[in-house]
């Protein structure tokens, strides 16, 4: 089999395996379905009344949903980190490495499986969002482009989590490590509150944070708010993160030696 067709074939075999596992582990499935709904409801009804939103938005839910969509999709790659750490611990990576399969397929199979779970949780979050007061306010092509951007962001962070998973000694460590790395990044951004309301240092960080760029781009694509350079900058960030972490994760995978 030639290199490219082997890579695609092996990636699909492993993506299928990863999806079967998720369907069979109901606790993990909860993370993709119930958890984002809970987040939306908590933010809208607990914080919503206390947060003043810019006049372009029709209430807090309208402001919040693109932010929570991006945060949720960024965490979608968690399954990749947990799964890789688990495979390393159980010696499955050894088995894969001893097979005549494409080297990159183990990581690619993980990140491709994430696209399916990300799509599922994206539909759920947007669906709940529409119920609690979010509204699209743009042309259909622009809205579709927004969905494409979200899925691309999810894919980029799957590679970030692939790196975290390969760097962790156990699934528990991957969990803690991933949480510490991604959580502050999503909160100190324009996702949940307007950065102008933050202390100066945090505001500066939030304005520089690629998460803010991505969230503002999504608001622009879905709701027509002014975005400046954010839309194309968001795509550039997303593609750059994907390439950078795909490269370092693959390099890390090649070097990984199981204890």
């Amino acid at each position: 089999m030639t290199g490219v067709s082997a890579l695609i074939g092996d990636t699909l075999v492993l993506a299928q395996r990863n999806l079967i596992r998720i369907v069979r582990a109901p606790d993990l499935l909860t993370a993709f379905t119930v958890q984002p709904v809970m987040f939306v409801l908590l933010f809208v009804y607990v914080f919503g009344g206390a947060i003043a939103v810019p006049p372009a938005f029709d209430g807090y839910a309208d402001f919040l949903i693109p932010g929570i969509v991006v945060q949720n999709i960024a965490f979608g790659g968690f399954a990749t980190a947990l799964g890789l750490a688990d495979d390393l611990n159980r010696g499955l990576i050894d088995r894969f490495r001893s097979l005549p399969m494409a080297r990159a397929a183990v990581l690619a199979g993980r990140t491709v499986a994430d696209i399916a779970t990300n799509l599922l949780s994206l539909v759920i979050v947007v669906g709940v969002g529409l119920i609690v007061g979010f509204g699209f306010n743009e042309s259909v092509p622009s809205i579709v482009l927004g969905f494409v951007l979200v899925l691309m962001i999810g894919y980029a962070f799957s590679w970030v989590f692939a790196y975290i998973g390969l760097s962790s000694s156990s699934p528990e460590a991957a969990n803690a490590f991933g949480f510490m790395a991604i959580f502050p990044l999503t909160f100190i951004s324009s996702a949940f509150v307007p950065p102008e309301t933050m202390p100066a240092v945090l505001e500066a960080f939030a304005n520089f944070n690629p998460f803010s760029t991505m969230v503002d781009a999504l608001r622009s694509l879905w709701q027509g708010t002014p975005a400046g350079t954010d839309v194309w900058a968001a795509f550039v960030w997303t593609i750059a993160i994907t390439i950078a972490f795909a490269l370092i994760s693959t390099a890390k995978y090649r070097r990984t030696v199981v204890k």
């Binding site: 492993l14 395996r17 159980r90 010696g91 050894d94 490495r97 001893s98 005549p100 030696v257």
Partner: protein, 331 residues
């Protein structure tokens, strides 16, 4: 001239501050079994990882089926199967799905992969459990599935890294029978083990590894001759009579009986059959009362004491399952 199935020369592996392999040579003829015997930390697993392309060697060369483990790694992977002590199977898949996945990653194609999965489950007596999730399997079933996964592509060479470590005695014997059946079909096997009896039963030749160095190599019989065979241990009711017991038993011993601690008489024997009855008759005739009597086999520790002058060190110490087991324990 027949090509060797496995050939390693001067294999070395240096980790940051540990030299795991200090230049070992190994050769395995096609269709034979090499048992690599040694305690934890001897370098057994490192050797297997290099030969299965998982680790690059720091020095030396190795060829498996004529293919270099570094330069021809990709082509080599299609010709080997690996099964190990960690039973690398996916718990959240069924036994069938595990084997099918491995088959497809060997690029057998989906129909062939399914066919192989079915026939291997059947052969390893897992056909009834084939549709169950692996997390419901017992330890022995997981090992058998792991072994089946190594055989999916019907590779000419199989590497088994401590295949029975941690298994209960019944599962061990069952796994041995499976491995024997596989070998009888002409597969070349390299297996690592901490158990002398396992190497004795399965291997044509045994290589003894200690601290990354090959300290002995030969058939089980050659090795046993170096170590000494079985012996009879006799404890008398009256310890002051051990001298008389040695005199009474000398005629049936294959070597000089000894009594190092003044209590237990050790009597080397050429064969187990009849030796206890013979010893009892002679002790009875001499009017000596026996408190305890047992046949002992050399353990891995005996091999190491005999070959290196020190006991096998169990570097991870705590796990009782990793300790050597005498032959009596599995019978």
């Amino acid at each position: 001239m027949s090509e060797l199935a496995i050939e390693a020369q001067g294999l070395r592996k240096q980790y940051k501050d540990v030299e795991a392999l200090r230049g070992i040579d190994l050769t395995v003829e096609p269709g034979t079994v090499l048992g690599v015997l040694g305690p934890n930390g001897a370098g057994k697993t490192t050797a297997v990882r290099i030969l299965t392309t998982l680790l690059p060697p720091s020095g030396g060369t190795a060829r498996v089926m004529g293919l270099d483990v570094v330069d021809d790694a990709n082509a080599l992977r299609a010709k080997i199967g690996l099964a190990g002590q960690y039973a690398a199977v996916d718990e959240n898949l069924t036994g069938f799905e595990n084997l099918e996945m491995v088959g497809r990653l060997y690029h057998l194609g989906r129909p062939k992969a399914k066919e192989r999965a079915t026939s291997l489950l059947d052969r390893f007596e897992l056909d009834e459990a084939g549709d169950r999730l692996v997390k419901t399997y017992s330890g022995g079933m997981r090992r058998r599935l792991d072994l089946a996964a190594a055989l999916v592509a019907d590779p000419p060479v199989i590497f088994l890294d401590e295949p029975t470590t941690g298994l209960d005695p019944r599962s061990r014997v069952r796994l041995w029978e499976t491995i024997e059946a596989m070998v009888s079909e002409g597969t070349t096997v390299l297996l690592t083990t901490q158990y002398l009896d396992e190497a004795d039963r399965l291997a044509d030749r045994i290589a003894v590894l200690d601290h990354g160095t090959l300290i002995a190599e030969g058939t089980a019989d050659e090795l046993k001759r170096k170590v000494g065979g079985e012996w009879l241990e006799v404890t008398l009711e009256d310890a002051s009579q051990t001298g008389a017991a040695i005199a009474a038993l000398e005629a049936i011993a294959s070597g000089k009986p000894t009594c190092d601690d003044g209590v237990v008489v050790k009597l080397p024997i050429a064969q187990r059959d009849g030796s206890i009855a013979g010893a009892v008759r002679r002790l009875d005739a001499a009017g000596l009362n026996v408190h305890d009597m047992a046949v002992r086999s050399p353990t891995l520790d005996d091999v190491f004491i005999s070959l290196t002058g020190h006991a096998a060190e169990h570097e991870n110490g705590g796990d009782p399952e990793d300790q050597p087991v005498t032959e009596e324990a599995v019978r």
